[in-house]
Symmetry: C2
């Protein structure tokens, strides 16, 4: 399922929850340089023994914390905290202040998606992806065919 990303990239991830930690582990394993930021140090326990990146305990909504993560050098920034509004704000800052080329925000509430798109921020909606996967599963089963 996972395609390898070959070039070595510098990736900053805000939020070390399920998505943040999964990506940090995967991307680090693929050879990328990863920095994960979380306010709660205990979250870093989700990082695997092979994780070779850096962790920063701090609030990613503080510019100083993003500076410590060297966000200005980042190729990618993923806003993956558990709050949609925080992710929107972080994505905007990563894009405008630190000029990160690839900025993606995870959003839980699909109704917020329009706001992000208007601001030119790429989003990943777990809810929409799951709904699509469910519909694909029905179609693949043959029951949903005409």
């Amino acid at each position: 399922m996972r395609r390898a990303v070959s070039k070595n990239l510098y990736i900053v991830i805000a939020g070390c929850g399920r998505l943040g930690s999964l990506l940090a582990n995967d991307l680090s394993k693929q050879g990328h340089s990863v920095v994960v930021i979380d306010r709660d140090e205990s979250r870093f326990a989700e990082l695997s023994a092979e994780f070779s990146g850096f962790t920063i305990v701090g609030d990613a909504t503080e510019i100083e914390v993003l500076r410590r993560a060297k966000s200005n050098q980042a190729d990618c920034f993923l806003a993956a905290t558990n709050r949609d509004n925080v992710n929107l704000m972080l994505a905007q800052v990563a894009k405008t202040v630190f000029q990160v080329p690839i900025v993606i925000a995870r959003i839980f509430d699909p109704s917020h998606e329009v706001v992000y798109q208007q601001l030119g921020i790429a989003t990943i909606s777990p809810t929409r992806l799951s709904a699509q996967a469910f519909q694909d599963a029905i179609t693949q089963s043959g029951r949903g065919q005409p």
Copy 2:
């Protein structure tokens, strides 16, 4: 992004949260017969004005509630409550007691996935789907290419 599912199906959805309500609205719009179950009646406010299915206020972990939803006639059953353990249980009951042909459980914690697979239950993991979408976004940007 959404592919239409053409044949009319009878679909039972347990949990009217973000995923449950999104799917209920979409599938109903496509002409399917949808029944949504939730313990919390206020959740049904998320259903659109065009939703033409049925709602049942009740705990889906009670067999009687699943019977009221006519689960034995369902083509598809989606366990989309907010608790992984509940979804696992519901999926098992839908499969074994009501013999629903297509049973899918949404799970938040990817580490639970193995348990489901061992039990032969199809799962949808928003976390994995999101991680894959993020990796695809990097690859598509060209930065992740060799």
